[in-house]
């Protein structure tokens, strides 16, 4: 069989719609996981032992169970509790929770990398613990964590393809439909493969630029 990409031409708008859906899911989920990750990172660096233990258990559990199993757990489990939500919301929630476990590690190492002197200076200045955390610790930690958080985002783009397993027609799901419509699975999936690779490559370059931009003025061994 000849490798012929032109048969995909009429299906491009459909694939594009899938790509937009993927982007929406990833955008919402990365926001969700950074918020969740920041909360968990706070818990993991707190002085209360039960809180630390709980946060560690969450991270450990969600990092060591396959995402597909987590996804099925939510997708089939939530209706059992009487919560009926669509595949899109389920996907965003599952991705946020799984991504939060990875994001929390990135933010936690950002928090631990802060010089104690900065925090001591803030304490001496009479700032409350809350203000120290929200105004000093978190901004610095998030800024130094941009690069690892970018890795989390790249991983999330790749992981979002799994959402096609719960009937969400994002890019991979649309690709499946186009493949079965045209009977040209090789071309479709080859294009998807290259597209995902190019996309994640572009995202990681953008994240690197952002990291350098936000961390200018900080010595290189910290940033």
């Amino acid at each position: 069989m000849r490798f012929d990409l032109s048969i995909l031409w009429p299906h491009l708008p459909f694939l594009w719609k899938g790509a937009v859906l993927s982007a929406e899911v990833c955008l919402l989920a990365i926001i969700g996981s950074v918020v969740l990750g920041a909360l968990v990172a706070i818990a993991r660096t707190s002085s209360a032992k039960p809180l630390r233990w709980l946060a560690l258990a969450y991270v450990d559990l969600f990092r060591n169970v396959p995402f597909l199993v987590q996804l099925f757990f939510f997708y089939y489990g939530l209706p059992e509790l009487g919560i009926y939500i669509d595949a899109f919301t389920t996907g965003v929630i599952a991705l946020s929770i799984a991504g939060g476990a990875f994001a929390s590690d990135a933010i936690r190492s950002g928090i631990l990398a802060i010089e104690p002197g900065i925090i001591e200076a803030a304490e001496v200045s009479g700032l409350s613990r809350r203000v120290i955390f929200t105004r000093i610790v978190l901004p610095i930690a998030l800024r130094t964590a941009i690069r690892p958080l970018g890795a989390v985002l790249v991983n999330m783009i790749l992981t979002s393809s799994i959402l096609s397993a719960i009937t969400l027609n994002e890019l991979t799901g649309s690709g499946r439909i186009v493949a079965s419509d045209t009977f040209r699975p090789f071309e479709v999936y080859a294009v998807l493969l290259v597209f995902y690779a190019a996309l994640t490559y572009a995202v990681s370059i953008a994240v690197n630029l952002l990291h350098v931009r936000l961390n200018r003025g900080i010595s290189q061994d910290v940033a």
Binding site: F72, F186, Y189, A190, L193, V194, A197, Y201
Partner: protein, 223 residues
């Protein structure tokens, strides 16, 4: 259709699924480790033409969703190359190549972690290139690489759950079957998740023991 409750035979079914998952994981990891190391050696000797191709292929495999790779091999290859492919064959091929791509990256950075001066010193002492690889680079690089490799293997175990989508009856597929039969998603997916968790912890534990042994020569022994 009548929904039935759990039977004792379900335990056998779950263990069978776990066996398929772990078996495929072990087989693909072994092939991936060998293949990835061969790629790294090709790069180390800078085989003209071949090593650029290897780098490109590794980047492509690393930066695209495993699910799309699986679909490309399982649906695309039979249609395009007119070959027959069972789900297990497609899964083995895809996961091996995917593992190899990550192993390649780890192996390359491990080789680079050994200082140039050591290699030069060894060459000056009259060791052949093979002897340098075997006695100087090999031991140090493997001690360096074992940590990232264990993290990779834990991750690859979770990736095996995706093969259920193309119809391999692994642990996740068994979970799916039980879920549809009993309609008790919480119990089913919790049990499946815990089995994956236990397997991941086992790999991590074995990895730590191996790492400690490989690093024994450089460990601080006291005065």
């Amino acid at each position: 259709m009548r929904y039935s409750s759990f039977t004792p035979y379900d335990i056998v079914l779950l263990l069978q699924g776990l066996g398929v998952s772990v078996g495929l994981f072990l087989a693909t990891s072994l092939i991936g480790l060998l293949l990835g190391t061969v790629w790294a050696v090709i790069r180390y000797y800078r085989v003209p033409g071949l090593w650029q191709l290897m780098s490109f292929l590794a980047e492509l495999l690393k930066n695209s969703p495993v699910l799309v790779q699986l679909f490309l091999v399982f649906f695309g290859f039979p249609a395009f190359f007119r070959v027959n492919m069972t789900p297990v064959e497609a899964a083995t091929l895809t996961l091996s190549l995917n593992t190899a791509a990550f192993v390649y990256v780890i192996a390359v950075s491990a080789v680079e972690s050994v200082g140039r001066d050591q290699i030069e010193a060894a060459r000056v002492f009259g060791l052949s290139r093979w002897q340098v690889l075997r006695h100087v680079i090999g031991p140090q690089a493997s001690a360096f690489a074992v940590g990232p490799l264990v993290a990779l293997l834990v991750n690859q175990l979770q990736v095996t759950s995706l093969i259920s989508v193309i119809g391999v009856v692994d642990l996740t597929k068994v979970g799916n079957i039980l879920n549809l039969r009993t309609l008790k998603p919480f119990i089913v997916w919790t049990v499946v998740g815990l089995l994956y968790y236990a397997a991941a912890k086992l790999i991590a534990m074995l990895g730590t023991r191996l790492e400690n042994r490989l690093r024994a020569h450089s460990a601080w022994k006291g005065l």
